[in-house]
């Protein structure tokens, strides 16, 4: 099964509402129990304003920009992100907006450039997913 994507196609994406419970859930699911994701004092010791989301949670959420359009997560063959800014998650939660655009299609692989924005700040850099297409 392969995905339908066209060059220049804009993938509208979605806004993720992240709560503290989401970070705890991801900690359990991923096995990453680094306390900077759930302990105020551990976060403060590193100079962070509050606990931050797992970079891998942001990376995993961002890929849904692609899979919600293509419908087939198994068609993703490569994925890169740089973690440029932390995503602080205060008690009241945080909103991250994800979107994408198809920047290249070559030899059966589409490259989708993904944006992850916390207000007006990009939290992922150079994020690109590679997806098998027809």
């Amino acid at each position: 099964m392969s995905a339908q994507l066209s060059l220049g196609q804009v993938l509208p994406g979605f806004t993720a509402q992240l709560s503290r419970a989401d970070l705890v859930r991801y900690a359990g699911a991923s096995g990453d129990f680094n306390p900077i994701h759930w302990s105020e004092s551990a976060a403060a010791a590193l100079g962070l304003p509050t606990v931050i989301a797992h970079g891998m949670l942001t990376m995993g959420l961002a890929l849904r920009v692609v899979t919600e359009v293509t419908g087939d997560p198994g068609a993703v063959t490569g994925y890169y992100v740089r973690f440029t800014k932390p995503v602080p998650v205060p008690e009241e939660g945080a909103q991250v907006h994800f979107s994408g655009v198809v920047t290249e299609i070559s030899e059966g692989i589409a490259k989708v450039s993904i944006q992850a924005m916390l207000a007006d700040q990009a939290v992922l850099g150079a994020a690109v997913a590679e997806v098998r297409v027809d």
Binding site: G28, A29, S30, G31, L46, L57, D72, Y79, F83
Partner: protein, 141 residues
């Protein structure tokens, strides 16, 4: 001796086999807000692509547990992450993860460390490679 260019090429024993189960796939998909995706359900479920981090993360402990390198997770920042998949991880796969040090660049008290973790089924089929750049800060002298 702290980590240095001399450690490039070092690799660690593969982790014990990890079985990718249906409930674990469902748990991970739910943590990504994607529990309703049919790809992650049923007897022929695949795992969300970034599920590979569950396996790669287990291999990281061999790096941080290597007394020669003197690395501390608390002083480490995850700079970037890449995955290359040969095929998706599937329910029922038994997978091992083996970490190797690809590149080390030391600048003052900081080291940029590039690692690659090979995920391979117990039948010997390569499934994915998870590559990471880590920035490790030495304790200030």
């Amino acid at each position: 001796m702290p980590i240095s260019e001399a450690h490039v090429g070092r690799s660690y024993p593969a982790t014990p086999p990890y079985e990718v189960t249906g409930p674990k796939i469902a748990e991970f998909a739910a943590a990504l807000g994607d529990a309703d995706n049919p790809a992650y359900q049923g007897t022929d479920a695949i795992a969300p692509p970034t599920f590979a981090v569950v396996l790669a993360g287990a291999a990281w402990s061999s790096l941080f547990g290597d007394p020669e390198l003197g690395l501390s997770l608390a002083r480490t920042v995850h700079v970037d992450q890449r995955f290359d998949w040969t095929r998706p991880l599937r329910r029922g796969d038994e997978v091992t993860a083996q970490l190797r040090i690809e590149k080390v660049r030391v600048r003052g008290g900081a080291a940029f460390i590039t690692i690659a973790v090979d995920l391979t089924t117990t039948a010997g089929e390569p499934v994915a490679v998870a590559s990471s750049t880590l920035l490790h800060q030495e304790v200030a002298q």
